[in-house]
């Protein structure tokens, strides 16, 4: 009936303390943003094993966000430093297998940054719309 519009699907890993709270604040403040992101709450962004990001892409996610406390503000002191290091390695890995590294984003958002959270999801959604569906999802073929 209607023509098919590409609606990106984003898997978003957040820590419990900062970013999940930031996403909560976006809702409490009634800031509107796209429905694309599906949040998986972990205790710390440091829990995100690079394999988990690959698992998301493997299963067809169009984009992945890893989000934690700002550097220096980690609830567990240093967990997000690890996240940062792993993220850089992951981007290189994605590039080497032909996946656009822009499909993976690292976002530092505190519990008081609802606006930043909503803006980041909006931007990422727009960006992935430009990139098109994930080459793995099988939706890329017309």
């Amino acid at each position: 009936m209607s023509k098919k519009i590409f609606d990106p699907n984003i898997v978003a890993f957040t820590c419990n303390w900062c970013s999940y709270g930031g996403a909560d604040l976006a809702g409490i403040s009634r800031i509107q943003y796209p429905t694309s992101a599906k949040v998986i709450r972990l205790m710390c962004s440091g829990r995100v094993d690079p394999v988990m990001v690959l698992e998301a892409f493997k299963n067809g996610a169009d984009g992945v966000i890893v989000s934690g406390c700002h550097i220096g503000d980690c609830h567990y002191s240093t967990g997000n430093y690890r996240t940062q290091v792993r993220f850089q390695a992951l981007q290189t890995a994605l590039e080497s297998i032909g996946m656009d590294p822009q499909r993976l984003r690292l976002l530092w958002a505190s519990a008081s940054e609802g606006q930043q959270w909503a803006e980041a999801i909006t931007e990422m959604t727009e960006q992935i719309k430009k990139l098109g569906p994930s080459p793995i999802s099988g939706r890329g073929k017309k």
């Binding site: 699907n9 709270g21 809702g27 943003y33 429905t35 998986i40 205790m43 440091g46 299963n59 909503a118």
Partner: protein, 1123 residues
């Protein structure tokens, strides 16, 4: 473990909060078809009693083994539903929550269909998770029944007293030397106009005396470890340099202290001393010395003269004490007051602003003043040591060495080859720069202390001294040989070398000189020789220097004086040969130079300009290109550097032979300075004492001075005034004699100049306080005390900062004398303040006839990211306005405000009271304040928003109601305590409505203005609420901690220790089969599991197999619908 297969899904409407956007029945229906789901339904309010009963009934009726509630954020409701399922017999961890409200309905309000599909996707993800969950058991930990309250303002005081009265031992940690916070500085408190200190003082002393309160003032938390019930805090108790057990608070020390710095308790309206008590009601009632470190001037001085100390004593009129402090380091206040190169002045902090303090001229003043008044006679010091020390050479290095040794009780003899002592001071520096009687007087003083001088005695070998029974030797024989120019004709008659020339003139020998004289060189000796030649009658004196003025090593003011006296300087000129006739000098042939590349000395290398030779006709040439050391006498026996100077260890001044030390020009060569020579002598004296006592020469040697981390100078509040010019002898008088050219500062100029010192180190260690403290409570060597305390809960009450408009100069603050802040005004009305309770305008101390209050300065202001109300500004200004009216009914008072906010009981009546007293309120924010030239009164430009009229009203005093801000270091503090900060930088509570005093971090409570602006009753209420929160945590004695800790499967582990490296809590211990995680230390972040290459470490409740299916479910969602 088998998957859970009978899951119940409950979709909450939350009234219309969720159901207004998401089609809840459809979502529940969808969930019912998901594999593993045995039951699903939608509920109006899942968290209501009805809702919870429905969930519990379904668990029983449908034999559910896992539960998903899709409602609001788990950050607030997870504990509610966990308890709900637990009561129905399920393990509380077989539960997962989907956030449909904050993450779906509220943020996708305009896309109901998509929102509904997203809700379905999130529930599908959650069901995948619940299938894999395992039952877990919470551990019980004992709670330490003690509390730490951080911050001793009124909120912290209230919390501490409630906790202590309830029987909990409480540590109250305050970073200032007293508790009381901002309230203690207020005069009256609104709305009832109680006297602030009268109501606060009694509870402050209750805190001081309470047996269950351990008051730790002047203390900060360095580090926080542990978790709820078991926190460990490392406390740094900063040294007050006072034994508080002995201090009686008498205040004698305060009168003796010469230092003045702006008082933080008077908001810049008055000064305090370095040893101080914040205010009379301080608790504890003890003094504190503020030390920031040693001032840069003192650290820069090679001999480390206590410059700030003597300068401030001078400023206080304590000239004798100042001179004694100087002499404690160097015996040459007058000599160095004339010839020191003053490296201290180059580094003086004041120099960064206008001009450095004239340090050299100040100690010269002290020396001159002593001569003028007549010095106290010096008594011979008693000698308590037997080992004799010999010093070769009576120059500044040797005398400084002797000065220190004799004061340490050693018998010292100085051997000097010449007939008079002083070395280069006497023979190298002309009298018009350094009068002989100054040298004589200062050396005589050292001799009077008991140092033996043997003049005309040349020492030829070290053995000679050994035979005479000397146990240690210091060599300070200087660099007495002039460097030769090595050009043709250098030995002709009429050519002098500077040292010989000056020596002959200075020792009174007859030196004849012709009309035309040229000096070769650019150092101080060249300038001295030129000016001496003029005084000997030369008509035309030139200095020939091969580089430009910039590179000239002589002191700038000496060069200026020489030129003023008529000396011509030929820059960029190099002599090639001396023109002579029959062995008598007739002139000099020179070549022009230009500056080329930079050489090893960092200066641009002069290069000859081809074909630019020229000849100058001369009667005399004085070569002053430097001095050198030649290995003569005992120097033969020691090792040398390639430049002929003695090799010494620069830290100890010990030569190649143990027990033989050296310093001054014999080590430095010709380029050294007198103050460096003094420093060498002193270092060597210390080494000699160590050598003779068998103490390691290097032990604990360099750590005596500590630089100031940052110099906190309030530049904006500094008045600009330049250093005084040195009065000098008129030119005509100069050339007829060798009279001293520089005449010295007058007493008035010197005292004023000393007042320009910025007191960088605050306490200068002049030690005047020691002399007046009867109970001997002061000890300048005390250090900070670090202690560790263990507590079960923490209450944070660190307060706020008052906005200081000095940087922005808002409304002319800091520029116009009569613009003050409301905090400053509070000090005017306070009887303990600088005006003793009288309202006086700062410019002329007159009572103002018209006062304006400007509201919201820095508040409700988007430009400074503080667009929030300060909460207290309106009431405070109304209170202050009524205080003016009470004291001076004739004074007109106007309040300029966008609007007046008086909330709650009692505050509106304050407003009415002010209005009835005649206070005028203008609605509108003033645009500008202008000072009226001449009168210092102020014109306030504003628009009255009610009438639309533009106002230009003159007031005699303007008070700015300034904003309330979070502390500058709030973020660092928050990190230390793992707390969050909100948009404006205040600490963030767990929930703004229902958990206003809880932090996200369990066991930490927040109260007072660290949460945001508050008035006193609110801060007290918060303090008491936080105390109650802490009590309800502590009272049961035990606490259940979440069982989310990591565990290692040693079968899989390859022992790489990455987990151990990653863990922020050092919870991973052991190796190989013994490797394990200490669950009591593990905080459950899971960063180890995220990094383990073997998947050998995992974290309960967030296991790999519990997360991966959720990811798969999330990733497979397409266009918002699961495939």
């Amino acid at each position: 473990m088998a998957e859970l297969g009978r899951i119940g899904v409950f979709v909450c409407h939350c009234g219309l909060n969720i159901a207004g956007t998401v089609d809840c029945p459809a979502v529940a229906n969808y969930a019912g078809y998901l594999p593993g789901v045995a039951y699903s339904t939608d509920l109006l309010f899942a968290c209501s009693d009805d809702g919870q009963v429905a969930i519990q009934r379904a668990i029983t009726d449908h034999s559910l083994d896992g539960v998903v509630v899709a409602s609001c954020t788990p950050r607030t409701h997870e504990p509610v539903f966990r308890k709900c399922v637990e009561e129905a017999g399920l393990n509380r961890y077989l539960y997962d929550q989907v956030n449909l409200r904050e993450h779906v309905s509220w943020c996708h309000m305009n896309e109901p269909e998509k929102a509904t599909r997203k809700a379905m996707a999130l529930i599908a993800m959650s069901v995948q998770r619940v299938k894999q969950l395992e039952p877990l058991v919470r551990q019980r930990v004992n709670i330490i029944p003690k509390v730490a309250v951080i911050g001793g303002g009124v909120a912290g005081i209230s919390a501490s007293l409630d906790l202590a009265n309830a029987g909990f031992n409480t540590y109250l940690i305050e970073r200032r030397p007293t508790i009381g916070g901002q309230m203690a500085l207020l005069d009256k408190v609104f709305p009832q106009s109680d006297c602030a200190i009268c109501i606060l003082g009694p509870i402050m002393s209750q805190v001081g005396q309470h047996p269950r309160i351990n008051l730790m003032t002047y203390s900060e938390v360095d580090n926080v470890d542990g978790y709820v019930g078991n926190f460990r805090l490392k406390i740094r108790q900063k040294s007050r340099y006072i034994d508080t057990m002995k201090c009686t608070g008498c205040g004698e020390c305060e009168d003796a202290c010469p230092v003045e710095v702006p008082s933080e308790y008077e908001f810049g309206l008055a000064n305090r001393t370095a040893i101080y008590r914040p205010f009379p009601q301080a608790v504890p009632n003890k003094y504190t010395i503020e030390k920031k470190g040693h001032a840069t001037c003192r650290i820069t001085c090679p001999a480390h003269v206590n410059i700030q100390g003597f300068v401030q004593l001078l400023h206080d009129g304590k000239f004798t004490e100042a001179l004694n402090l100087y002499r404690d380091v160097s015996p040459f206040p007058g000599v160095l007051g004339r010839v020191c190169t003053s490296p201290c002045e180059d580094k003086c902090e004041r120099g960064k602003y206008d001009a450095p303090v004239s340090i050299r001229n100040l100690h010269r003043f002290l020396a001159d003043k002593e001569i003028e008044q007549g010095a106290e006679p010096v008594a011979i010091l008693p000698l308590d040591k037997e080992d004799k020390v010999a010093i070769i050479g009576a120059g500044p290095a040797g005398i400084a060495c002797a000065h220190d040794l004799i004061r340490s009780g050693y018998p010292v003899t100085i051997f000097e080859a010449k007939e008079a002592a002083g070395g280069l001071l006497r023979y190298g520096i002309p009298e018009f720069r350094l009068p002989r009687d100054i040298i004589d007087l200062e050396i005589k003083r050292v001799e009077n202390l008991g140092v033996e001088f043997k003049m005309g005695k040349r020492i030829e070998s070290l053995d000679e001294l050994k035979e005479m029974g000397y146990k240690a030797v210091f060599i300070g024989t200087g660099a007495p040989f002039s460097i030769r120019l090595r050009i043709e004709g250098e030995d002709a008659s009429g050519v002098f070398h500077a040292l010989d020339f000056l020596d002959r003139v200075n020792s009174g020998k007859n030196v004849t000189i012709g009309d035309k004289v040229a000096i070769i060189g650019g150092g101080n000796a060249a300038i001295d020789a030129a000016r001496t030649a003029l005084r000997l009658g030369a008509k035309q004196v030139s200095i020939v220097y091969r580089r430009s003025r910039q590179e000239m090593p002589a002191l700038a003011h000496e060069i200026d004086e020489a030129e003023r006296e008529g000396v011509k300087i030929l820059f960029l000129t190099q002599p090639i040969s001396v023109k002579e006739e029959q062995g008598i000098v007739k002139g000099i042939k020179c070549i022009q130079m230009r500056l080329g590349d930079i050489d090893s000395s960092g200066r641009r290398r002069p290069v000859p300009v081809p074909d630019s030779e020229f000849t100058i006709k001369l009667d005399n040439i004085i070569i002053a290109i430097g001095q050198e050391v030649k290995p003569t006498g005992p120097l033969w026996e020691l090792e040398h550097t390639e430049w002929g100077t003695l090799s010494v260890d620069s830290r100890t001044m010990q030569s190649s032979k143990p027990g033989v030390f050296a310093g001054g020009a014999v080590v430095l060569g010709g380029g050294g300075t007198v103050i460096e020579a003094v420093a060498h002598g002193k270092t060597a004296a210390d080494s000699i004492a160590r050598h003779l006592q068998g103490i390691d020469l290097l032990k604990a040697r360099d750590d005596t001075l500590s630089p100031i981390p940052y110099v906190d100078v309030d530049i904006a509040r500094l008045g600009q005034n330049m250093r005084p010019a040195m009065p000098t002898l008129g030119k005509s008088k100069r050339l007829r004699s060798f009279a001293e050219v520089e005449l010295g500062l007058s007493e008035k100029a010197a005292v004023e100049e000393a007042g320009r010192c910025l007191s960088c180190g605050v306490c200068s260690e002049c030690l005047q306080c020691l002399t007046v403290c009867e109970p001997n409570a002061i000890d300048h060597s005390l250090g900070d005390k670090i202690s560790e305390i263990q507590v079960g809960a923490i209450v944070v009450t660190t307060g706020f900062k008052i906005y200081d408009p000095i940087e922005t100069r808002e409304y002319g603050f800091g520029t116009f004398d009569n613009v003050v802040t409301s905090a400053q005004f509070e000090r005017f009305t306070n009887a303990a303040g600088p005006t003793k309770g009288k309202i006086k305008r700062p410019s002329d101390h007159e009572i103002p006839k018209s006062v304006a209050f400007i509201q919201c300065v820095g508040s409700r202001d988007r430009r400074v990211d503080a667009d929030y109300c300060c909460y207290i500004g309106c009431e405070n200004s109304l209170k202050q306005a009524t205080q003016i009216k009470e004291k001076y009914p004739e004074t007109e008072v106007t309040i300029y405000a966008m609007d007046i906010r008086t909330h709650g009981l009692g505050y509106e009546s304050l407003y009415h009271r002010a209005r009835e007293m005649g206070v005028i309120i203008v609605k509108g924010r003033p645009s500008e304040v202008e000072e009226i030239p001449g009168s210092k009164s102020l014109k306030v430009l504003a628009e009255d928003l009610y009438t639309g009229e533009r106002l230009e009203t003159t007031h005699e005093l303007v008070v700015l109601a300034t904003a309330i801000l979070p502390h500058d270091d709030m973020k660092d503090f928050a990190r230390k305590f793992k707390l969050s900060t909100g948009e404006y930088g205040y600490l963030l509570e767990a929930h703004p409505k229902l958990r206003p005093v809880d932090a996200f971090q369990d066991g930490v409570f927040l109260a007072g203005a660290c949460l945001g602006p508050m008035d006193i009753p609110k801060a007290v209420a918060y303090g008491k609420a936080a105390a109650a929160g802490a009590q309800s945590l502590l009272t049961p004695g035990q606490f259940q901690i979440e069982p989310m800790f990591a565990e290692i499967d040693t079968e899989l582990c390859m022992d790489c220790d990455l987990c151990g490296e990653i863990c922020p809590y050092n919870a991973v211990v052991g190796e190989r089969d013994e490797r394990k995680v200490l669950s009591e230390l593990c905080q459950g972040c899971g960063t180890c599991a995220g990094g383990c290459p073997m998947n050998a470490i995992d974290i309960h409740h967030y296991k790999r197999e519990q997360i991966m299916p959720v990811i798969e479910a999330a990733a497979k969602v397409k266009g918002g619908v699961e495939t």
